[in-house]
């Protein structure tokens, strides 16, 4: 009997797909469980913050709480000054930090000689790993005294100090993501622009940066999220007075600082008001992510 006949007579059946595949199912479940950890965490956080914060909303009134200008527990729970402080410090940090970060990213991706990029890039990455309490030290030792001297004021713990510390803190996030997205562009964009006689700098600002826009905006959004959520460094340098700051050279308290400073001893409605501060904070983050999705909608 030759081989071909042997195979033919062996009566091999092609088996249909097994309907029961325990290993495949186990992995499927494992992937699903992993994916659910994040979703469940977000849902839980949202649920308990609302659960705890709602009493303050109903007791003091949503409008009073959000627009109230006085924070005098247990009598008055107005968090408007803190909303303003959080927004101003974040906005200021973005205005200072983002241009510096984008220019750094372009420098690293396009302009820096290798040896210099090899010094700047690890320095930026190191910046990302520094704990925020150390940024607070840095603010206390360098920035707060500098503001006192520069503007001749008795206390340098001001909104401005917070802005500067936050601006530095968001640098690594924005730089790293922007640089990555510029590097990810096809080389043909740059070649195409240069081949038309455009200068390198013109090509960078008219082709490369716009082409990397969605990545850069993602970096900026993460930077904003970091700035608005930052707590420890802000508590250390911003003075924390729960009143409406009249200028950048006055102290102020952010939403995060309000929660962190009073949570330890707050009870009853006071505690609930701190949770409702958290609700407002969450609302800002949701708004931020939604606007990022909207801006990047065509490019996804």
């Amino acid at each position: 009997m030759d081989t071909a006949t042997k195979i033919r007579t062996a009566n091999i059946k092609i088996k249909p797909n097994k309907s029961f595949d325990p290993i495949g199912m186990a992995f499927h479940a494992l992937f699903l469980c992993s994916a659910m950890v994040g979703v469940i965490s977000v849902a839980t956080i949202g649920w308990f913050v609302f659960q705890e914060g709602l009493p303050a909303f109903s007791e003091a009134g949503v409008v009073n709480l959000i627009t109230g200008r006085e924070w005098l527990p247990p009598a008055l729970y107005g968090i408007f000054p803190m909303i303003v402080a959080s927004l101003i410090s974040t906005l200021g940090a973005v205005m200072i930090g983002v241009p510096i970060a984008i220019l750094t990213a372009v420098f690293l991706a396009e302009l820096a000689p290798k040896w210099l990029a090899n010094i700047v890039r690890p320095a930026v990455e190191l910046l990302a790993g520094i704990p925020s309490v150390v940024y607070g030290f840095f603010g206390l030792v360098i920035i707060v005294p500098a503001i006192e001297t520069l503007f001749n004021i008795p206390a340098g713990n001001t909104v401005l100090a917070g802005i500067i510390v936050l601006a530095i803190m968001i640098l690594p996030t924005v730089i790293t993501i922007s640089e990555t997205s510029i590097r990810a562009l096809p080389a043909t964009y740059k070649e195409g622009a240069l081949a038309l006689g455009a200068s390198h700098i013109y090509s960078i600002f008219k082709v490369l940066v716009p082409a990397a826009k969605s990545g850069i905006l993602t970096g900026v959004a993460l930077g904003i999220a970091r700035a608005i959520g930052e707590t420890m460094a802000i508590i250390m340098v911003m003075g924390n007075a729960p009143a409406m700051p009249g200028s950048l050279l006055e102290p102020a308290r952010t939403l995060t600082a309000n929660i962190a400073m009073e949570m330890a001893y707050a009870t009853g409605i006071h505690a609930s008001a701190l949770y409702s501060t958290g609700i407002v904070l969450l609302a800002f983050i949701v708004l931020l992510n939604a606007s990022l999705l909207y801006v990047n909608r065509t490019r996804a």
Partner: protein, 249 residues
């Protein structure tokens, strides 16, 4: 009259001797095709003609590339050179912006802001690239939304807008289907009246169809160059003979 002349050109990528003592005249208002197997140096040579190799780290060049008698590596500003010696790439590479902005890009980079001047240049360039009728109603649409062949003609329009004297084409149809390729070849038949064209191509049929002169490269050497009919019908060198007859490569 030679538009470009390559004289005793050597190019090294680090230790790799990629172009070996190349001398090649490129006559004005003709199509010169550079052919040869992959890695033979034909694209590298093309990229020395508008100094795109400047972007590659560790490149060393000796010898001369003369553009109307001026050494482009010594006597000419590189941005001026690239305006006069335009380039169309292998893969269509329109910028992520509108059709109009793509064509106007090079002019805007030169500081031209006058809307009338730009409008006229965009229309004229798109007409010359045989794309105007297909896009005239949607100049604001993104250039990357066009089909592959249209994108390549957009890139040609973008190059023409700079009013170059030479157009370098690096396998401009290798990413396109046969119909789009046919359109580009028809277009080149028009372009040759106004421009000096140097084209790198993998397709010997394309070289035969469109070029006046052909240069055959082999492992960094220029083996043979001359009239296209002569290179294909009476090649002098054994290697050219082997390549054009399809024995290898």
């Amino acid at each position: 009259m030679n538009k470009l002349a390559v004289n005793n050109l050597n190019l090294f990528y680090g230790d790799n001797h990629a172009l070996k003592d190349i001398s090649l005249p490129i006559p004005a208002k003709q199509v010169t095709a550079l052919i040869g197997p992959s890695g033979c140096g034909k694209s590298t040579l093309l990229r020395t003609l508008n100094r795109m190799n400047d972007l590659v780290e560790g490149v060393k060049i000796t010898g001369e590339v003369a553009f109307e008698g001026d050494d482009i590596y010594r006597d000419v500003d590189v941005k001026q050179l690239r305006m006069r010696v335009g380039m169309v790439f292998q893969k269509p590479n329109p910028f992520p912006m509108s059709i109009y902005e793509n064509v106007a890009f090079g002019l805007k980079a030169q500081g031209i802001k006058d809307k009338k001047v730009l409008d006229a240049a965009v229309e004229e360039s798109l007409r010359s690239a045989a794309l105007w009728d297909e896009v005239k109603d949607r100049l604001d649409a993104p250039g990357q939304g066009l089909s592959g062949g249209q994108q390549q003609r957009l890139c040609i329009a973008r190059t023409i807008a700079m009013k170059p004297e030479v157009i370098l084409m690096d396998e401009p149809t290798s990413a396109l289907d046969p119909i789009a390729t046919h359109k580009i070849e028809d277009l080149m038949d028009e372009l040759r009246k106004k421009f000096t064209i140097v084209i790198v191509t993998h397709s010997m049929n394309q070289a035969k169809r469109i070029s006046d002169k052909t240069a055959f490269f082999w492992m960094g050497e220029l083996v043979e160059h001359g009239e296209t009919t002569q290179i294909f019908n009476q090649p002098q060198d054994q290697r050219t003979q082997g390549y054009v007859s399809g024995e290898f490569g």
